[in-house]
């Protein structure tokens, strides 16, 4: 018997005691409500002086780049509501958790917010992966999630409110713009290697087939990649009229630089991007993406009193250098929509909030939005913009009023068989 083993056995006891005490401390000590293990999150949440809501974004890791700003706008919305007396006469108390850019952590923290903190609703997520990870948690607990980012569609969970665009509010208008306004016949698809670009490109290909546009190539780069020489060579060889770009934030810089180096600046080869908003431009550098086309539903420059107020408040709270953009606005709108629904329902019970949300309208910075009761997405105006030298985006085209959300593209013939 080696002494090491003796050691191992001897203090197995000690360690497990330590673990137990740790769990007792965290499990019982920190939150006495914990023991009332309830699956219906809101049962007791409006009985106190405040109403707790969860905010769950990546504050560390690769996604922190994008998500921190959204957290900020959500906190701004909560602050504004609290200043006006809160909801149901109570102040909103945000509980902030870090998803750490790790999808299972999102699931874990979502569960924690629901069962430990008993939040009335949660605002959070950015990547599709984080949403997919959280979805079953919210469904099984019958709790609410407000998800603020444009995504690939083909989803409609009864417990998620989608305040970002689905494909028919962003990508399809962008394609129509390219075809009608720019006369594009040959389109090259470039994306980061993850779910949104791949699924979006599948839809684009279906649309192109139905609308007489040729897709000349489809290339994916690993997330975070800065090596686009080969892809650019392929783009060049394809003689395309335009590129549809679903690359993730940091990869865009390298991609645009390489295009430029290969003699394909934006005036020669238009590139439409659907993942670059003002906040990303700030990190990329406006000089590198000046003149590029983007498609969103909201820009900082979008006219309207609501938006002026929002931009002013955001800058006042977080600094003059900060910008607002589509997901930031969608996060803000999500909180406002939830508050309005709670007021209307007179309760924070998720089922009642869902019922009250049906058809609810709100004057948002992006314009009037209406919640679609069926799929819990909201109507959005589609806007095509061009990045200017200040890093802001000027709208060059906009849809005739808000577009109804259609995540499964049911109203489009060419989309049959996609879902």
């Amino acid at each position: 018997m080696s002494t090491r083993e003796k050691g191992g056995r001897f203090w197995l006891l000690a360690i497990l005691a330590l673990c137990l005490s740790a769990f007792v401390a965290v499990g019982c000590g920190s939150d006495s409500k914990d023991e009332a293990s309830s699956t219906s999150a809101s049962a007791s949440s409006d009985s106190g002086d405040t109403i707790k809501v969860g905010i769950l974004h990546s504050l560390s890791g690769t996604m922190a780049i994008s998500e921190v700003s959204v957290r900020d706008s959500e906190l701004l919305a909560i602050e504004e509501i609290n200043k006006n007396g809160g909801v149901l006469g109570k102040q909103i108390e945000p509980v902030i958790e870090d998803g750490a850019s790790d999808w299972p952590t999102f699931a874990e923290k979502a569960q924690k917010l629901i069962s430990q903190d008993q939040v009335a609703a949660t605002f959070g997520g950015w990547t599709s992966a984080s949403r997919k990870a959280m979805l079953p948690v919210f469904e099984k607990n019958k709790a609410l999630l407000y998800y603020p980012v444009q995504y690939e569609g083909l989803e409609s969970s009864p417990y998620i409110f989608y305040t970002g665009a689905t494909t028919n509010q962003q990508i399809i208008p962008a394609l129509e713009y390219l075809q009608k306004e720019k006369g594009v016949k040959k389109l090259f698809l470039v994306g980061s290697d993850y779910v949104f670009p791949r699924t979006a490109n599948k839809e684009i290909k279906a649309w192109a087939k139905a609308n007489g546009m040729e897709v000349t190539g489809e290339e994916y780069a690993p997330l975070g990649s800065t090596e686009f020489s080969t892809i650019v060579n392929k783009v060049k060889a394809s003689n395309s009229d335009a590129v549809f770009n679903t690359l993730n934030g940091d990869s865009n810089v390298a991609f645009f630089k390489q295009l430029d180096g290969a003699g394909l600046p934006s005036d020669k080869l238009p590139v439409v991007s659907v993942s670059i908003a003002e906040d990303e431009v700030r990190g990329i550098g406006a000089d590198k993406v000046k003149g590029q086309i983007v498609a969103w539903n909201y820009y900082q420059t979008t006219p309207g009193a609501e938006n002026e107020k929002f931009v002013k408040a955001y800058k006042a709270k977080y600094g003059k250098n900060r910008v607002t953009d589509d997901p930031i606005e969608a996060g803000y709108v999500g909180v406002k929509l939830w508050a309005a629904a709670v007021e209307k329902a007179g309760s924070t019970d998720p089922e009642k909030v869902k019922a009250a949300s049906k058809g609810l309208t709100l004057d948002a910075p992006e314009g009037k939005v209406t919640v679609n009761g069926e799929n819990q997405h909201i109507t959005k105006t589609s806007r095509i913009g061009v990045i200017n030298e200040n890093g802001l985006i000027d709208t060059v085209w906009e849809s005739d009023g808000p577009i109804e959300p259609d995540p499964y593209l049911k109203t489009y013939d060419w989309a049959k068989g996609l879902s």
Binding site: L59, S60, T62, A64, I65, V68, S69, D193, E219, Y220, A221, P222, G224, S225, T226, E227, S229, T230, I231, V232, N233, K234, K236, A237, G249, D250, S251, V253, A254, K257, Q258, D260, G261, A262, G263, D279, R282, G283, I284, G285, A286, D287, K288
Partner: protein
């Protein structure tokens, strides 16, 4: 045919980036046997140095800021390396696996520091105007920034070769690496040689960081994209072998660009890894083995 030529050029370009990020490791890993996982963060430090200099000098001095950042990044990253060596690494000589784990802890902290100081957002580094755009040669596009990185990689390699091969300091480094005890007993201060070697290796990472600002934006995770590739270059090249690193970097770059052309970007990486495993079956010591049998 033209496509093949184009991909060869792309391969050389990728290779020169690999070479730049791996050069420092041929010193710290190759010569000293330290597996410095924080090397990536020294690269990041070099990149942020460029950013800070640009902010300090303003928009009208982009070129000056960029050129100035090359030596300054060398010193900044080098000093960070020096500090790391003097506080932690020197306790861990002869325990390479432990240096790996400890420096990984350091890397975590440095990343978070960057996040807290510069924000989680990536920051933009502007390119000097003369690096924008490109030229064409025999129908092949040659972006200026790639040409610059290629030239920089060559220049730094030659400089490293001169330092190691011709200068007093390099001779000492090699002497210590080849026979530490004899070096010490011959009056060579091995501790200070170690510190200088580490300074140099880390400083080269800083220069690589400056070059990388011309490829993409700068963020706290910048180094993590390159660290494994850099180590693989050193392993394939053979420990401490400058010429090995050069050959390995360009071979890996070309394999990468060719397989990327024929398959997809994500598969290309996997193909490169498979090639490396197969290669190590035949030459576990790398292209140029350092091991020479001691005599009886």
């Amino acid at each position: 045919m033209e496509a093949l030529l184009e991909q060869l050029v792309v391969g050389l370009s990728i290779g020169s980036i690999l070479l730049l990020v791996a050069l420092g490791l041929t010193f710290t890993f190759g010569q000293m046997g330290v597996i410095n996982m924080a090397h990536g963060e020294f690269i990041m430090a070099g990149a942020y140095t460029t950013y800070v200099l640009q902010e300090l000098l303003g928009a009208e001095n982009i070129t000056a800021a960029f050129l100035l950042s090359l030596p300054i990044a060398l010193v900044v990253a080098g000093l960070m390396g020096l500090l790391l060596e003097a506080t932690l690494i020197k306790r861990l000589y002869g325990r390479p696996l432990d240096t790996l784990l400890v420096t990984w802890g350091v890397a975590l902290i440095l990343q978070q520091v960057a996040r807290d100081v510069f924000g989680a957002q990536n920051v933009a580094v502007a390119s000097p105007a003369w690096l924008d755009g490109g030229t064409e040669l025999f129908g092949i596009d040659l972006p200026y920034n790639r040409l610059f990185i290629f030239a920089l990689a060559m220049a730094v390699t030659v400089a490293a070769w001169v330092v190691v091969g011709k200068l007093k300091q390099g001779r000492r480094m090699r002497a210590v690496m080849q026979n530490r005890q004899l070096a010490a007993a011959s009056g060579i201060g091995t501790a200070s040689v170690d510190r200088r070697t580490f300074f140099l290796g880390s400083g080269l990472a800083g220069i690589a960081g400056v070059a990388l600002t011309q490829l993409g934006s700068v963020g706290p995770a910048l180094g993590t994209y390159y660290i494994i590739d850099a180590f693989l270059v050193v392993i394939v090249g053979g420990l401490g072998q400058l010429r090995g690193a050069v050959i390995a970097a360009f071979s890996l770059g070309i394999i990468n660009s060719l397989s990327e052309y024929w398959t997809q970007a994500s598969l290309a990486k996997v193909i490169v890894f498979v090639c490396i495993i197969v290669f190590l079956q035949f030459r576990p010591q790398g292209i140029f083995a350092t091991e020479s049998r001691g005599l009886a």
